[in-house]
Subunit: 411 residues, 2 copies
């Protein structure tokens, strides 16, 4: 028990936070710009944030306490689920929520105890079986739904399956039956130029699940052979629904999520947030927040475009996504919430075209923040902020403190 006996940088756990958190009327608005952190453009030397015209973000930064967050640890690139769990105070290594489960929650699938969910991609393989497009050209959601129907009646002895479309190339496979286990590997090699992998059991009791998954994949390949939109499937993140303490339980908050993308709605539900119907763009989301401003005291607004354009490798489009977000903030600022946070779940530099390990710009504004000298919301500026560089899991206690929703710890 060295780590506990010799831990000198005390990390407050949920048991303690639960004991000192209290309800109050103040509101916390938590804006998440997915993948907001970036890297300099090779020509200008400026990052996406530094290249964007963003008067609202910069104005907030001037009145805020700023910093750079590490979602997990320096050097570790988070997936979307761990990136968000860290933002909400969950140790993302301890609370390892499978991708399949998050996807299933995002489509309101009624998961039963013991169900195994996996995230699926429709993809394209060439005649040697090598993946040429992991996302089948992001085929339309309608087309994807048709392909899902084609796979829905694949019969797997003793295991009931559901194949549910999500958005574009994404679907969820749910396996229901006796003796299933999530301890199997992915078939998705996560990059083009390779063949899909066989699903392998990681423990003896998972052999049946691996067999079932591999039979599903072979049968799907047969059924998709003559399709042009996609001719193969990739599976990853086989998982069971985890036990996880909820936001209302830990922080005594009444939280709501305003997110356009299913995965983030699913994750929010998993940790006890209400989820509001909203439109496809950030202006709609801000409008939804305004309409429900009296109904909740914690608002999680998820903005996907910064990540999507970063993953596309489109620097200019990511800059524009930042500007669109900044513009929409104009509708939020008149509400003047007691605590306003702008953060990101990870960086997605357009030059890398993928999630990255770089720390993420962060700011928190409240009447009780000790101001720093930062006057711009960007990677370099936030480094000099009053929070310096810090773990993303510290954000929630900081938000609660600034909302005066935490009693002191100890006598």
């Amino acid at each position: 028990m060295y780590a506990s006996e010799y831990n000198s940088s005390a990390m407050i756990g949920f048991e303690h936070i639960k004991r000192i958190s209290r309800g109050s009327p103040s509101r916390i608005v938590f804006m998440v710009m997915d993948g907001v952190g970036g890297l300099p453009h090779p020509e200008t030397g400026k990052t996406e944030l530094e290249s964007a015209r963003k008067p609202n973000l910069d104005r907030i930064a001037r009145d805020s306490l700023c910093g750079l967050t590490d979602p997990i640890d320096p050097g570790i690139t988070p997936g979307s689920a761990p990136g968000h769990l860290a933002l909400f105070g969950y140790d993302p290594v301890l609370y390892d929520v499978g991708r399949g489960i998050v996807e299933a929650l995002g489509i309101d699938f009624d998961l039963k105890t013991g169900d195994i969910a996996a995230r699926g991609n429709f993809c394209i393989v060439d005649d040697k079986g090598i993946i040429t497009d992991r996302r089948a050209g992001r085929l339309s959601t309608e087309r994807s739904a048709e392909l899902c129907r084609l796979l829905s009646d694949i019969a797997l002895q003793g295991t009931e399956i559901s194949v549910v479309p999500v958005k574009e190339h994404r679907f969820v496979l749910i396996l229901r039956g006796e003796g299933l286990s999530p301890e199997v590997t992915d078939s998705d090699p996560q990059q083009a130029g390779l063949s899909p992998k066989r699903v392998e059991a990681l423990s003896p009791q998972a052999q049946q699940t691996a067999d079932v998954a591999n039979r599903f994949v072979s049968e799907a390949r047969v059924r998709l052979l003559k399709e042009d939109a996609a001719n193969m499937v990739l599976l990853r993140g086989f998982s069971l629904r985890p036990g996880i303490p909820s936001i209302p339980e830990i922080y005594k908050l009444k939280p709501v999520a305003i997110a356009a993308y299913p995965m983030y709605r699913g994750l929010a539900r998993l940790i006890g947030m209400d989820v509001l119907p909203t439109g496809e763009n950030i202006r709609d989301q801000v409008e939804t927040l305004r309409r429900h401003y009296d109904d909740y005291d914690f608002f999680f607004v998820h903005y996907k475009q910064t990540d999507s354009r970063g993953e596309d490798g489109n620097f200019q489009a990511k800059v524009e996504a930042i500007e669109e977000f900044d513009n929409a903030l104009a509708g939020l600022l008149p509400l003047d919430p007691e605590v306003l946070i702008v953060a990101g779940d990870h960086s997605t530099p357009a030059t890398l075209a993928m999630h990255s390990w770089h720390p993420v710009p962060f700011m928190i504004r409240s009447r009780w923040c000790r101001p720093d000298a930062v006057s711009e919301f960007s990677e370099r500026a936030c480094l000099a902020g009053g929070m310096g560089r810090f773990p993303a899991t510290d954000i929630m206690p900081l938000a609660m403190a600034n909302a005066l929703k935490l009693d002191k710890f100890g006598a």
Copy 2:
């Protein structure tokens, strides 16, 4: 065992420190300005430290390694005991010392194994039983002692009680008897406008203790009915004396505390420090240090006024308290100790009028500090210091290193 589960940055602990610490003639003078950190005054934009004339503190800062400490974790507001435990290297979450025990130690009460101590306040309730003043106008210590005598012969079947005055409205209740347990809730709701709460058992074996405590409170109410100074009591922090390694044991130091307030003397004794009699103000304390400079190698000097004036919400009085401290430093500087530290256990911004979560200015001066560019002892200036923002539990190893009292770790 949350502390271990959430530890992401492994820290060297007491077993290691014990192994590498060694005795030597060098001295460490550790000045603690209670609640020193602040927030800007709304009119001037300057914090209490930034507003004070403090030539000695600023001169020390120029020769020091500076930083900002987090007593527990970002966002977490520490009570006085955890704030100080962190300063002396103890993980304040792991070493959770009850308030009652700390108060009892502060008045030299001879605690026996199994005794339960609780912190008491004399308070005022209105005729509906609602608390109107949690501190009964900070009644005089003499008056408080009279009221304690009035309660001292309350008879509780099978449980012996002691009601001991501390200072102003504060007293300690000690329960001694068979089958007592500290696992009970507070009767003190910690804010005016509410009624005192019933003491509840948190485990079945604590029911007897809860009953005893509630009987004490009812009987106290009856006996205080006709008093004008206070007419009710509030109890909190029921606790047992914890097992805690001592400073001489861990660091091979000969430590002494010079503190005017009982609680800090009690805490110092709990971790193995000698406690010297001293006067009520910081000049007396410095004089006490000078007189005993040859008798110890570690001096903890506790200055309470910065916290008290902050809690009063009196910005100008806190500024003056800082100036008084600075002035008294003139008597200390000629000693030129090998290691001089000025730190705080937490922030107490006058604008908030309570302990807060904001990180605390810190400086350490020794011949072996790598200098930084800080030339002023303040929140903003220390952020740019060589230590940056760091956990308060790192202070002791740093002090030991600068005193050349630590061998290297590993071959």
